[in-house]
Symmetry: C2
Subunit: 253 residues, 2 copies
């Protein structure tokens, strides 16, 4: 690539989150960076989009070295859509989302705004990667993972991604032993609802729960992360369970 | 099954939508019905969940023949979680979501609150089906599709579903020629953002766009619906692109 690659950066923790600022730092070493990210936290928004409300877009300057930073009132997926269809003159060469404060391994991929932004870019035909650090803290240390983020991004820019595939990259807290390509572990959240009463006597609930890995496989993201490896899961957005079609065809429908 | 099956009914158009009332009518003929559905429209919420806010749950009586109807302030996925983990004493035998006012075929499965509720039930190990009618109107006629909804539900209750699979059922407006098991068509939304100015002079946007089917296959949901068939797509929530793992393993990571 003779021209610098155009890289769209987004996330779900909002445009001022330390995780996205760390990701921007790394991307500035690689290409021309445009940032379009939510103006407020949008964790667990999944693939939600804003269709029954208006969207606001604000040009902001958080990093003086960047010419194009925008905060958006919408979800992570809205950010990708408005970047591609309203702001950018040409399709970006890459979209990176994150670095999320907290894991998006296993079934969390489905709830994650970070990953949904990457998936949306994939649907738009843009190579895309979601990055998440296994540390929920706002003061998480992103320095140790920066070289790995750079390595993975350079590899994707060089090799490209298979059609219809984006990457879900989860980064353990250091020390990191290496990188493993994995499948999504079969895990669930065992939810609880914490029932409380407000000052007016009305009951309300907080969703809470425990993540339970049911999968003993050594080829899963959970296994890799537990053993201090970075997990790279190729994620697709053709949700068809192709293996089930034959069985369903035997039904009397 | 000697005991009546316990059926959880939800949707994304809200508990008072004609589509869910039609679905409840059919389910009452088959089993014991519990309704937990959003108190306001939640279309295009995807797999969003409420983690940074409180949830409210209200016992309501819309259908006097039902003992258990609840409206919930959360997303469709929240409704399934609170039904299973807070309201119900035992796991339901089936979860049905819909009938959505409007299509959830092809890539729309990813944005759909209707389908996300069904997928969440699937994650919880409950056989689940999302139903959508290709008519956005609030006064859509659900009568012609009721016999098909009943047929599909009875078949699922009798045969069960493969592990990790839920059904995405889209129903054309009549006349209906039959039912086809399909794969998700490869299609995209070509978005536009309608830029406007509010009375205070501030710019804002509305997301709009056109659905474009790029897939010429005759085994897709789009093909079936276009030819007046009901489409049944088996949907999985293991998003791993298993076919891409080998290729990624050849990378220098």
């Amino acid at each position: 690539m003779t021209q610098k690659p155009l890289i769209l950066v987004t996330n779900d923790d909002s445009i001022t989150a330390p995780g996205i600022r760390a990701l921007i730092e790394v991307m500035k070493e690689i290409g021309e960076v445009i940032v379009v990210a939510p103006d407020s936290p949008q964790s667990a928004m999944g693939h939600a989009i804003t269709i029954n409300n208006t969207l606001h877009l604000e040009k902001v300057t958080i990093d003086k070295e960047l010419k194009n930073e925008y905060s958006c009132s919408g979800t992570p997926v809205d950010c990708v859509k408005i970047a591609v269809h309203e702001i950018l003159k040409r399709k970006p060469d890459l979209c990176v989302s994150g670095i999320n404060h907290g894991s998006n391994s296993s079934i969390n991929v489905i709830y994650s705004g970070t990953m949904s932004a990457a998936v949306e870019a994939g649907i738009e035909g843009i190579p895309a990667i979601g990055f998440s650090l296994l540390d929920y803290s706002w003061s998480a240390d992103f320095e140790p993972v920066k070289p790995y983020v750079k390595k993975i991004v350079l590899e994707v820019l060089e090799k490209g991604l298979p059609e219809g595939v984006v990457l879900n990259v989860n980064l353990p807290k250091k020390p990191i032993k290496g990188i493993k390509v994995c499948r999504q572990a079969k895990a669930v959240w065992e939810e609880r609802f914490d029932k409380r009463t407000n000052p007016q006597g009305k009951e309300y609930y907080w969703l809470t729960g425990e993540f339970v890995n049911l999968d003993k496989g050594e080829d899963t993201d959970e296994w890799a992360l537990k053993h201090d490896y970075i997990s790279v899961v190729p994620v697709q957005f053709d949700f068809t369970a192709h293996h089930a079609i034959q069985q369903l065809n035997s039904w009397e429908l």
